[in-house]
């Protein structure tokens, strides 16, 4: 069943007063994908998620959830969504069981089905022992888990998780990521985060948002490739004048790093490695280091979220 489109968004826009919080965002989510929404705080991630969950109405655009229009048939579409907002919507005065049963009831589960799905969600999210505890007395990590369990109760094909690992300790974060990966196998998951490692650890696809606009969308692997080895870092014991290096084919820019080390920027996919080796041997440059440098995901992220802003 992988591959079937679960969420289709076209031209989604939403203003908050003067600021355009979400600006003409379009994307699709297929079953089996875990889509990471990446962006700085205030980039419009949460607003997009609130729009997808039907909590906010868009100014323009269309949202199809599992083939149903969220704006025309909200109740049918919402039945297919499990939503965990930034702050888990839990009543402090209820116990975990009461909260989950209430949420199951809200999603139209009858008594028997509610009983079954609450038990299943509790086991899945490691809540089996805290069923009778008050939510107000639980730690942040447990509340987050109750929030996820709550989003899972009605077995929705689409999960929308807004910063699911915020406030968790490292162990809990790891468990949460494992859970999300597991859930993503038979569903479509959208999660937002401003942490890059989170995307690398959990997601199959990534979308980067800046000032309400989507600046990158694609598979995680694509993002890595996009900046694949655009530089070579070399070390020479007897370096020639920089001008000689600049004459190498496809080299666009040279940084002198000192100590005989240089960074050669070259056109993507046209590394002058062989020529460099030949020349180094012929001219006695004494090459001792040759490393293709890939821009890390971190650099790409920074470039996409900040870099172009200054360029514009």
């Amino acid at each position: 069943m992988t591959g079937e489109t679960l969420v289709a968004v076209e031209g989604l826009s939403r203003r908050h007063g003067q600021t355009q919080a979400v600006d003409a965002v379009s994307f699709t989510l297929k079953r089996g994908q875990i889509l990471g929404f990446l962006g700085l705080n205030g980039a419009g991630k949460s607003t997009t998620m609130r729009l997808l969950a039907g909590v906010l109405a868009p100014d323009a655009g269309r949202i199809l959830i599992n083939g149903t229009d969220l704006l025309d048939q909200p109740r049918q579409a919402k039945q297919a969504i499990g939503y965990l907002p930034e702050q888990p919507p839990l009543y402090r005065e209820l116990t975990v069981d009461e909260q989950l049963r209430y949420s199951a009831g809200l999603h139209g589960l009858d008594r028997a089905a509610s009983h079954r799905s609450v038990a299943r969600a509790k086991i899945r999210c490691g809540l089996a022992n805290v069923g009778r505890r008050l939510i107000g007395n639980l730690s942040k990590g447990y509340r987050q888990r109750v929030g996820i369990a709550q989003a899972l109760l009605h077995d929705p094909p689409v999960l929308i998780l807004d910063e699911p690992t915020v406030g968790l300790d490292p162990i809990q974060t790891r468990e949460m990521r494992a859970l999300v990966r597991e859930l993503g196998q038979e569903r479509g998951v959208i999660l937002s985060t401003h942490l890059l490692p989170e995307v690398q650890a959990t997601c199959s696809h990534v979308q980067i948002m800046r000032s309400g606009r989507l600046v990158f969308a694609g598979a995680l692997a694509e993002l890595r490739q996009q900046r694949q080895s655009a530089c070579l870092r070399i070390g020479l014991n007897a370096p020639p004048p920089v001008a000689d290096l600049a004459r190498l084919p496809a080299v666009t820019q040279i940084e002198n790093l000192g100590g005989g080390q240089f960074r050669l920027h070259h056109a993507a996919g046209a590394a002058p490695t062989q020529t460099l080796l030949d020349q180094a041997r012929a001219n006695g440059w004494e090459l001792w280091e040759l490393t293709p440098e890939r821009a890390s995901l971190e650099q790409i992220f920074v470039e996409l979220t900040l870099g172009r802003e200054t360029a514009e």
Partner: protein
Amino acid sequence: MIRVIAARELRGLFLSPLAWTLLAVNEALLAWVFIILVNDFQNTRGRLAALEHAPGVTDLVVAPLLRVAAWGVLLLTPVLTMRLFSEERRAGTIDLLLSAPVSASQIVLGKYLGVLAFLLSAVALMALMPLALMAGATLDGGRVLAGLLGLGLLAASCAAAGLYLSSLTAQPIVAATATFGLLLAFWIVDLGAAQGTASALFGYLSLPRHSDALLLGLVRSEDVAYYLLFSVAFLGLTIRRLDNLRLRG
């Protein structure tokens, strides 16, 4: 769906000490009034016996008690309804309702019925006092029922207004203050308008005035319709407001 929301609302009320405190205070104050009324009745009974068509225990105890109970409703409702939406907005739990497959009217009706069930149970608790008189006196059952109906309708109207004002703000205390102000305005709107054409309008707007006839045992459709319209109007406004909340954020 409405039942699920109403049940949680009611449960939430009973899980907080606030609701119990309100019930206790209301009941204690009304009990004090009740005792005074019964005592007065006992003291004047001798003189009343000499009169023809003398007012009975329903006139002298039950009706005044219900009149005071109406003030109880005025004081109780703002504190009960203040959290309905504002607390959900403050705590973010409103997201659960808005993202669930339920309509705005279901949410509003659920919350309304939940808080109304609580208010009516407070009325029922109060009604036990005059009903206890049945052990030693004959009550005019029809009049007592009509009076209780009036009180119930009054409570329903106040709750609807409180629900609406609670949806306007994320601060419960602001909602409570505004509700109290609004209800009090409807309470005293007929004061000082003794004569003239305006007084008819102001008299018609007055919330408690419409239960006067009911306290006399007179169930007029005009009064019942007033309370129902009052409630429906505020419920409609709340539904609109909730839809707006999605648009305005």
